[in-house]
């Protein structure tokens, strides 16, 4: 018995030696990641140099972007690159997620008396769905065409591979040798310091900033969504170290839709200013302000023919809207930071009453000649705040939190509950990058979002929605 145990022990030790050797060989021979994201491979900088956590920019990355995707080291022009270099990166995210909505109207069934069933009515119930899924696919291509001439083109698809142009822009940088004058033309992200396109969260409700897309319930203004890329012309400038920045953009009020659609006869403007301060070991703090003001149509033209009425692109009856607020980026050493955005928004009473929203295919009220508003109708307004803290354990691991709340301050229709349409949402998550090189981006992503809306359930009560998501977020 004793001999047998000894023998088994010896066999185990042999096996252990072999495993140890095999692991050693594997560790010694494991190759480095060899992917080539566009800018990292051009400049040989790790993702963490420009990103607080990919894809969110840090201060250095923001400066690089503001310089027209240039480090300003006289090696920015393509002439310095290997001819085989092509600045393309793709990004996609395979995931598993579970979406749960609190009150969904579903059918109820009863027996038809013949062994079958018939719909007998409807009822509200929680609906939860879970499963494996994928995100859409982004092809990012950008960089310099020549020193101080840059571009960005981003064909982007939904998760059924239907593509559109998310970004298409050319930029003239450092005009007259001054960093204070740069001009961008095309379709581009508005100059939001806290960029939604570089958001660190991925769920349906947590993967956008609610503040950047908010509309009161029944409001017809889709044009004031500062989170959507817009068509226009932007002038921006900054000090040499990017401490001071400004931007002013003239935009078509079409919410980024191409082909001179409804709204293309109206214009809006987006303006930002920010200033950063050196606070020693705490880091560089930045505060700023923004304003999105403009007008958009409430009246579309129709043509009645043998096949019925058709809508003619182009529109009139412009009404005003505005979004303005403050932005803060506060750093507390090298591990903790807090991003804050506030907003006061207001739409014309016409939007509040459901006019204007034709562009996304929902033809609500048409403000034709002689149309009048309901008695007592008012311009809707609201206030909101977004707070997003980060804990950066290392460039490879970041913990994310977010709280957003938007409160109606004035409802458009008299008699509407004062809190109708209010939103509160919490998001928590983390992203772990198992490696950090200048060649590829890969993150294990885990996130939970909870969204609460006042009075928007089918029965007029509050509606809660939640989503749990985990997956691989990568670019190459």
């Amino acid at each position: 018995m004793r001999v047998s145990s000894y023998s088994r022990l010896r066999d185990v030790s042999y096996f252990g030696s072999l495993v140890l050797f095999a692991v050693t060989v594997m560790l010694a021979c494991s190759p480095r990641a060899n992917a080539l994201p566009a800018f990292a491979r051009k400049y040989g900088l790790r993702c963490s140099a420009c990103h607080e956590s990919w894809p969110m920019l840090n201060y250095f990355g923001q400066k690089f972007k503001d310089n027209g995707y240039q480090l300003m080291n006289d090696r920015d022009a393509p002439i310095w690159q290997n001819p085989s270099y092509w600045p393309v990166t793709f990004r996609i995210t395979p995931i598993w997620h579970r979406v749960s909505t609190g009150k969904v109207m579903v059918d109820t069934y009863g027996s038809n008396g013949a062994g079958g069933s018939v719909v007998t009515g409807s009822t509200l119930q929680r609906v939860s769905n879970s499963g494996f899924d994928i995100s859409g696919l982004d092809f990012h291509t950008g960089g310099t065409l020549e020193k101080n001439i840059s571009f960005y083109v981003l064909p982007s698809s939904n998760n059924a591979a239907q593509f559109h142009f998310e970004t298409v822009m050319g930029r003239l940088d450092n005009l007259f040798g001054s960093s204070w004058l740069n001009v961008k033309l095309g379709k581009f992200e508005l100059d939001n310091l806290l960029s939604e396109k570089r958001i660190l969260t991925l769920t349906g409700n947590g993967g956008i900033y609610q503040l950047y897309h908010f509309r009161p319930q029944g409001d017809g203004n889709v044009f004031g969504q500062m989170g959507d890329n817009q068509l226009g012309l932007e002038v921006m400038g900054h000090s040499w170290n990017d401490r001071t920045r400004y931007s002013a953009a003239l935009l078509s009020s079409v919410d980024g839709q191409v082909g001179l659609p409804y709204g293309s006869n109206a214009y809006s403007g987006f303006f930002t200013f920010s200033q950063a301060f050196d606070t020693g070991k705490a880091g560089v703090q930045r505060i700023g302000a923004y304003a999105f003001v403009g007008e958009a149509p409430t009246n579309w033209l129709t043509q009645t023919g043998p096949n019925g009425a058709t809508v003619i692109p182009g529109a009139v009856g412009n009404k005003s809207f505005s979004r303005e607020g403050f932005v803060g980026q506060f750093y507390f050493g090298q591990h903790v930071d807090l991003q804050v955005v506030t907003q006061h928004g207001q739409d014309s009473v016409w939007f509040g009453q459901g006019y204007g929203d034709f562009i996304d295919g929902v033809a609500s009220g048409n403000n034709t000649t002689g149309t009048t508003l309901a008695a007592g109708a008012q311009a809707p307004s609201w206030n909101g705040v977004l707070v997003e803290p980060h804990y950066i354990y290392s460039p490879q691991l970041i913990f994310i939190g977010r709280f957003e709340t938007i409160r109606m301050s004035q409802q458009s229709t008299p008699g509407t509950a004062s809190n109708f349409g209010n939103i509160s949402t919490y998001t928590i998550g983390y992203r772990y990058n198992p490696f950090m090189t200048s060649r590829a981006g890969f993150a294990w992503h885990n996130e939970y979002n909870w969204l609460h809306q006042d009075g928007t359930a089918p029965d007029g009560t509050n509606l809660n929605t939640s989503e749990l998501l985990m997956g691989f977020d990568f670019d190459f």
Partner: protein, 289 residues
Amino acid sequence: MQRNNLRKWSSVFGAAAVVAFAMPSSAQQTKYDFETRMNIESHVGNITGHAKDAKPDYRRYCVGCHGELGDGNGENFPWVDPKPRNFQLGVFKCRSTPTGTLPTDQDLFDSIGRGFDRSNMPQWSTFTKQERTDLVAWVKHFSPRWVGEKPGTPITIPPEPEVTPERIKAGREVFARVQCWKCHGVLGQGDGPSAATLTDDLGRPIAPFNFAEGARPKCGDTDKDIYRIFMTGLDGTPMPSFADNIKPDEAWDLVFYLRTLMSQHSKEKAMAKQLGLKPVDPNAPAGQQ
């Protein structure tokens, strides 16, 4: 018999594994050396930098090129040219101190913020002054030179004289006399007869500066910066210090002449045009070049 063979081979594998694990321990030893220097400080103005506080920033921004051990052997080493600096050697190009001596903390602080044109080292002007001073201390902790040596005394730069056509002509004579053209070329285009043969102290090919290309000189683009470059030399490169060959007044003359070779507009360039100044002629007799 089979079991004996298995035991024999397992012993070999086991020994190989032990050796393989032991090999990286020599690198660990070097890291240990760094740990002993972690208390190194830097001083820029009234700010004191601490090496240990810069570790997260170094890891985030610098390690890809300069490497975990500061030896310039980061993952990007094969792809970038010029190669990243090896901090372990304690040898730096841009200094205000005489050749062969350590730079001041201010020199390193300025280098981080200014970056190096025509290289992969960008301008790290986004750091706070405190963060940059901490990084200076971090850079110093890689080299034992900072333990036993003190930085050199910054050279004295006399006030810049008024530029005149005579001074530009005198600068041209200095350019010919100390044979700047041998590396930089007669037009300052970095194509002198020795240009192709130049290597740095580590034996890597290195190109002389091309004045005509429009780039900013690596160690700063003011007249004072250019003066400083040829009076201190760029340590680790073939560019020597001319402090023993050129008098301060002549050094200013040379600064003015070099301005005429640069593509940027300058009053020196305008004066040279008025003078009809011709490039030096290496084939002419000495003194008439």
